[in-house]
Point group: C2
């Protein structure tokens, strides 16, 4: 494309941490390629940072750096805004303001979208500009675009994802090296995969935000983070890991968004995050280390899986860059990709979901225990597919895999099992995902 026909687009970047500086580096490296292929001259016009004095990997012209994020959004030289601050405020205010000014926004802020997505999507559609957020889920994996565009009319049944690299790293270490949960977490922290306070990752809050975004995009319906059932991995023990392997499963923290039916013409969705036993021959089972992957099942497309680096500065910046070029090109042509009308969804309680279950409990090693335990399962109509006794005396355990049963019946079963004298401590429970 000739130089004269190129269009200069001013980019305002809010936040210059790992992803922001990787993005600025990529924009510089790929400047010519972008200009030649798309006719866009993307120029980093302003960058908002928390502290102007910190050393950075990127070199910026005088006057580009500022600590005033609002000034970046309002700058007439800024045509497109990239929000990489994270958290709710001031990100929400800044993104809203940019959209109201008719400036497209690219963001990687899962927390913002999981809680205030609906109002922001509406603001973008009203302003007829893009709000793109590939980087919010699965880092460099082109998941959001695939769901929003390629699969926009696909009758999606279920999306199951490994969307948190930290917990996948921890579970992989536990599985492959027999590492304890605490040692694997310490490893993840020393590698920079986990924060000093790992709660958001290990307790599933990060994955729950992503699950709400996936559900919204996959089913075209508003799903808030608060509607997502959530359990983390901190109670997964070495015994569970070992049993999973012996029984032909791998334990993964899954974010699952599923269409279970319709109520009053609205889709009924189940959206949840919890550790699960995944059949060893399922494509998700071989997703190791800190990799992410999302498995999509649709009535027409069949089975799809998208796999890649779910975090890290460069992979995430790659996703931001794809969105940025798209938003800038659309803005230049006076158009945008609508998120489309988002309907309401009915959220199905986890109590009503059916699954197979793995239940592992310490028991007193004496006659009659199995009969008492089996009686409790029977009273709640939970039928047992397989049982193993492990160890003797103080080490005795019973491990069950049930047939399909509702969460409600299984939780009632566990409640009654805890009352039995012969059952020591609280039984462990994991849901089983078949092939």
């Amino acid at each position: 494309m000739s130089d004269s026909s190129r269009k200069r687009i001013g980019v305002g970047v809010l936040g210059c941490g790992n992803v922001g500086s990787a993005l600025i580096g990529l924009l510089e490296e790929q400047h010519m390629v972008i200009a030649e292929r798309t006719g866009l001259e993307l120029e980093v016009a302003r960058v908002a940072v928390r502290s102007a004095s910190r050393d950075r990997d990127v070199v910026l012209a005088d006057g580009v750096l500022t600590t005033d994020a609002a000034a970046v959004v309002n700058d007439p030289d800024v045509d497109v805004v990239v929000e990489l601050i994270g958290g709710i405020e001031p990100a929400r205010e800044l993104v809203s303001s940019a959209l109201k000014q008719g400036k497209p926004v690219v963001t990687g802020n899962k927390e913002l979208l999981a809680n205030y997505g609906a109002e922001l999507y509406a603001a973008a559609d009203t302003a007829e500009v893009d709000l793109l957020f590939e980087a919010a889920v699965g880092g460099g994996i082109p998941l959001i675009r695939s769901l929003r565009e390629s699969l926009s009319a696909e009758p999606v049944r279920r999306v199951m994802g490994i969307v948190n690299g930290t917990t996948n790293y921890i579970l992989s270490q536990m599985t492959e090296h027999g590492t304890s949960y605490h040692d694997a977490l310490a490893d993840a922290q020393s590698l920079g995969y986990a924060e000093r306070d790992p709660t958001a990752d290990v307790e599933g809050f990060d994955a729950a935000s992503k699950a709400s975004i996936i559900a919204t995009v996959a089913f075209g319906a508003r799903v808030l983070a608060g509607s997502v059932y959530r359990e983390g991995i901190s109670s997964v023990g070495p015994a569970d890991i070992a049993f999973a392997q012996r029984l032909g499963y791998v334990i993964k923290l899954l974010a699952i968004a599923e269409r279970v039916g319709h109520v009053d013409g609205k889709p009924e969705l189940a959206v949840r995050v919890h550790p699960a036993m995944v059949s060893a021959d399922h494509p998700l089972a071989s997703v190791r280390d800190s990799f992410n992957a999302v498995f999509i099942e649709g009535d027409a497309v069949g089975e799809l899986m998208l796999y890649g680096r779910g975090a890290g500065g460069r992979p995430t910046a790659s996703a931001v860059l794809g969105d940025l070029i798209d938003a800038a090109g659309n803005w230049g042509r006076g158009t945008w990709t609508p998120i489309g009308s988002l309907g309401e969804a009915v959220i199905c309680s986890i109590d009503d979901l059916e699954s197979e279950f793995y239940i592992n409990m310490e028991v007193l090693d004496r006659p009659g225990v199995l009969a008492a335990v089996a009686g409790v399962f029977g009273r709640h109509g939970v039928s047992i597919r397989s049982m193993e006794q492990e160890g003797l005396g103080d080490q005795a355990r019973l491990v069950f895999i049930t047939h399909e049963a509702t969460e409600r019946d299984v939780q009632a079963t566990l409640g009654d099992l805890r009352e039995l004298d012969s059952v020591r401590g609280a039984p462990a429970l994991l849901r089983v995902i078949g092939q």
Copy 2:
């Protein structure tokens, strides 16, 4: 979205085989969902078929079906054209004509794009309408959109794909059940995975067309099918399958598009299709049965893999539908997604590529043979990483894995080996893809 704001878009479908009838069925099933989410009323206005008398799965209104494809393209009620005829002519003429009339085109025609893509992409950009072709590679896998949009500025290093389901099915049967090539092919034919004349699949022509499209989109450069080095799987034997397994590999037919350098400012690309030994712990190794998958390596995004159903009426129709909604929405908003400027590429000869190689030859079982054979390798500077002798007497074989060497040196080695009295028949060769 209210009924009154909906936009009616007339769809003209050329070809009503598996994919066409699945598409028409999907459009009917998902009509309300599409209308609610996107505001588009997609209406199948005309359908061109080869023979009007054949029974079909789909029911169409009077006057919709015709045997005159040009009349469909020219019909003023047809706003968007879906081309599912396949082959070069008359598809090329029909697609060109639609684009010239300012009608966006969605096609799944790999042969057409691999040979005449450049002129058609240029025609679409001139007319400022979409030419979308997700269905041309990998069926329902959102590969083309990911490469064109998400990764449009990613510094892609290499794309390696299992893009032909028939050959993957055959190789999977040979690997998992010890089936012979001919039995596995017969199986594939009886399941409808392979044509009666399987040449296009088993000799790699289908994969080569797809490789040229992948290279064009991944590297933004014109690559024709004729520039793709091509070998099929018909010479892969049970001994190769068995050795691969023993050495920790799986044999897959790969389409590989790779950036190897720059010549005079143009990217130098190597694009090829051949069976390869893939390390068993590579994500592509676990892609079984008739599934497809494409593994993408980029400097920023790292490793990505997209996996799914590469063929079949419904999965392919799902890809067409995603494109159709996109094209129709863009058309309604008076815009399009440009393919972008495609540069020239320098095609690197396979002779200059480096790889590790697997070489398997029958030899006479007598003293001095290994020394003679090793001498030939040494004279060509090809160094050996491992060697095994298998069998005795008439069954004696030598199996080598080389260190990295150029194709030229290895082919010269094979040429000289064939001259040795102690080597019987032509040695088998496979390229080795590491982790």
